[in-house]
Symmetry: C2
Subunit: 540 residues, 2 copies
């Protein structure tokens, strides 16, 4: 890969980073003050214990300390705390690199016989503990899909493309672009995450309002387990019992290892465009989004920032002087004192894009919206995959940060929004630190939308973990009480697993456990992920 | 109900029927000759054995012979043979009429304790043995949802409406129309079938190309089992594990009794319109349908008849003399000698409908299509729920008839089409009778479409069942070999159950069995439906 190695203790690639402009530092200092920088130990100081004995595997195996360390954690706040401190709870005893579904079947069979725990890993970007190793008496291996990559088959007539599970976002789009096709699934982790990971975690891309969540893009799937390869070939629709492909989507490695996925693709758009629209209030912005979705207007990206996120976003911009003057003037007008910025994006032929924008403009004007140009769209296009790098920078600068995402019906969104903000404020009060909460509405549907919260607080040395736990716990309970879903696109992992029953009920949990037991009777796969297994929450 | 009682031994309501015009009789006689009329015994001659002892139930119970007979069968070909001959394999020992989910929980608990088999029944229109009683040593009851009807809640902001499971199609639309909303789910059984049945069988309405299959309309669902009521409230989207609502859709009563469903509704269209387009060949028609769907054109109804169905459809029309002249002239032109008729329908504002038609016209013209007016659309609108009555008439006139529906990707449709026709022709040859096969493509998607086959043959006295079995078996195997799905919208029932493993694999069957065991541990619910239970195929 031309971009250099993955960073061992933070987001993305070595040598790439994003830092806060001075205006954003001042914004944060004014809101929550500033905490203690979270230092990071050098890799050489991390003690990786010798690997425990393992049975022979058919795939290539790596058991050197550097590889084991690089496959011990994901990208949750707790993972970052562990990696930066060097106090990593558990390491895999080896990392397997299978190159076929059949090799995975063989290796899972051996793991089952020997009682070895298996953690399945695609891009390793889970922020909810989906790939974090858990302390256990059992030996464990990480099964990496890194060598199971590439396009397997393309059916241009049906617009279906089959990829191996380890294929990353850029690889998917590069393989399709030559055929003038695209998938359009672009989660923030796009550059790192994989087809298999998208399906396992039931993810959503930033264009999901237009192209759909991953479950709508999956036409067929192949899952390897100790008992063999389960192939569900592509089908446009069926009534032959429940849609079992949908049981695989979101199964987070508990039902088997996703080895290949047939995805619904579409023509590369000739054109795309976007605009920023300011609304005087969050409520008016939400009403406009709802009207656009329920009106069936073709829109690919919908992202409405609340007042706080709009204000923070403004502080992140390093604007040219004239732009700054205009922007300040606009936001100082009484009408936009509490402005909320909506980003809308369209793709298609130039005519389709122009027509869609014009139809949306009619709606936003009816809801007091004011179009303020395309610079926000261009900036979003250029920088959207770089935001996660900011998290490492914030930790280094003294701020804790994490994100939460949920979804609810339109009629429930206002209460959900208020409830999460109230819970985070209360958690901050109990901790004795101010908490800043930013939110945007995105991934909109006819019947509801997702809310994505970012919360930031000043780090207190030695209490970072407790601070996070209090905030995360309070917000998660508030989400469930307000009938939001536990996650709209990050997944369950081990961080949300203890809460899953509150969402899906006793019966839902029983069904998931029965299904996992049917396909993974030895119970080797991704213990503690999706389903709490009486094992510790997170990495106690 | 103003329309009179349901017919005890055939489709629909007493006093309503549809008969073949003389032109259609001639068409069929020319194609396959004519068989022996299948007579029907009077109801009074059917021997209903005395009911076996049952535990006390909390719901209202009927155990009179007439009620038990009316709840013994669905509407499959085998059901009609049984009812018309009076040789009904099995009767429920009683019919329960619960009025709440809680009553169902209580009654299922008693059934489980006492080992009573329970058959769940909505509108009773299954054509695949989904509600047919099976001969068994166990006592059995039918659990009718007839008294669990009506709108429970309406959320106009989120456009969600919650209905009790026994609500029929006309009742759903009547409840919504007052709020200027509609569901738009209109299977051919619309007048009789219920919300719960639609969800249990994973059905599709005739407008599904526009409004989606039932699984896309279900936002929330409530399922009663012996262990309690499982509520999955409405959510626009989630990543909190696999979508368990999709496991309930298509579960055919094996996982519990669907008691209420929250459905995604939409505004009543101000306007709708449709047109018939003739194509010189089936291939050109299919290509046009694909281009319309893959072009993302907004279309609500897509139904392309093949050459045989177009020809038969023409014979069904009792045209005015001028129309007949025009029609004959058109079909006699060399270009349309093998014409295939496509019905397209749109709904929305008058402008939207006009624009959609104009965009579709550009596509059909590029594929050699010729728009031939709106009379076909008007006729379809007026008569589409009446076609099933024709089946009873055909049996009475000496023809056997059944339908098969499947779906495949666009690249696989031509082979699937040829394969099913070939299999039915071969089955007819082996039986020594000609078989007419009509087909239409409908319910179209970006990646594929459904094919709906109607097959007709001359009935031979005493061999009706064998004739049907040979044809149905051959066609079903051909569908699976050509990678079509076992069913696009009729479901699995007990007629398709023995074939399900070929479609979903050993693992798929294991998952479904494990799920059923988790929610119905006593194994009382809908034995033999969806999952073959070592019980006889159909009604041996």
């Amino acid at each position: 890969m031309a971009r250099g190695e993955r960073r061992w203790n933070g987001w993305g690639f070595e040598g790439e980073s994003v830092s806060l402009p001075a205006t954003a530092v001042r914004w944060l200092e004014a809101r929550v003050g500033r905490g203690a920088p979270l230092s990071a130990v050098p890799e050489t100081t991390v003690t990786v214990p010798p690997p425990r004995p393992l049975p022979p595997f058919s795939s290539a195996v790596a058991s050197d300390a550097a590889t084991r360390l690089r496959h011990a954690c994901g990208q949750s706040f707790l993972d970052l705390l562990a990696l930066r401190s060097g106090d990593v709870a558990a390491f895999p005893d080896a990392v397997l690199f299978p190159t076929s579904a059949e090799a995975i079947v063989a290796d899972l069979g051996r793991a089952a016989e020997a009682g070895v725990a298996v953690v399945v890993r695609g891009g390793g970007t889970s922020v909810v503990g989906g790939v974090s190793l858990q302390r256990s008496d059992r030996p464990s291996v990480v099964l990496s899909l890194d060598r199971l990559r590439g396009l397997v088959a393309l059916d241009p007539v049906s617009r279906l493309a089959t990829f191996r599970a380890g294929t990353t976002g850029p690889e998917v789009e590069a393989a399709l672009a030559g055929e003038k096709l695209r998938l359009g699934h672009e989660p923030q982790s796009f550059e790192l995450s994989t087809v298999g990971g998208w399906v396992a975690t039931r993810s959503a891309g930033q264009r999901s309002t237009g192209v759909g969540k991953i479950e709508e893009l999956v036409a067929g799937v192949e899952l390897a387990g100790a008992g063999g390869v389960w192939r569900l070939p592509p089908q446009p629709a069926s009534a032959a019992g429940p849609e079992l492909r949908r049981l695989v989507v979101g199964s987070e490695g508990r039902l088997g290892v996703i080895t290949a996925v047939t995805l619904r693709v579409r023509p590369l758009p000739q054109h795309e465009n976007g605009v920023t629209v300011l609304f005087p209030t969050w409520e008016e912005g939400m009403a406009a989004c709802r009207a656009i979705l329920q009106g069936g207007l073709p829109v690919e990206v919908v992202r409405l920032s609340d007042e706080e996120e709009t204000s923070f976003g403004q502080s992140l911009l390093e604007l040219s002087m004239p732009a700054r003057v205009v922007s300040r003037w606009l936001l100082s007008r009484r009408r936009f004192r509490r402005a909320c910025a909506l980003l809308l994006g369209w793709a298609g032929s130039a005519e389709e894009v122009a027509e869609a924008e014009s139809r949306c403009a009619t709606v936003w004007r009816a809801h007091s919206g004011l179009g303020v140009g395309r610079s926000g769209w261009r900036r979003w296009r250029a920088e959207r995959f770089r935001h996660p790098y900011l998290r490492d920078h914030l930790l280094e600068a003294g701020w804790g940060v994490d994100t939460l995402e949920t979804a609810a019906t339109w009629s429930g969104l206002a209460a959900l929004y208020a409830s999460v903000r109230r819970a985070l404020a209360a958690a901050g009060e109990a901790l004795g630190v101010p908490v800043a909460v930013l939110c945007h509405l995105s991934h909109a549907y006819r019947d509801g939308a997702s809310l994505y919260f970012t919360f930031l607080w000043p780090l207190e040395p030695g209490r970072e973990r407790e601070q996070w736990q209090q905030c995360k716990g309070a917000a998660t309970r508030a989400i469930l009480e307000a009938r939001g879903t536990l996650s709209h696109h990050h997944g369950v992992g081990c961080l949300h697993a203890p809460y899953l029953e509150r969402e899906v009920g006793r019966q839902g949990l029983a069904v998931l456990r029965a299904t996992a037991a049917a396909l993974d009777p030895a119970g080797c796969l991704n213990r503690g992920v999706l389903l709490a297994d009486g094992e510790p929450e997170g990495r106690e």
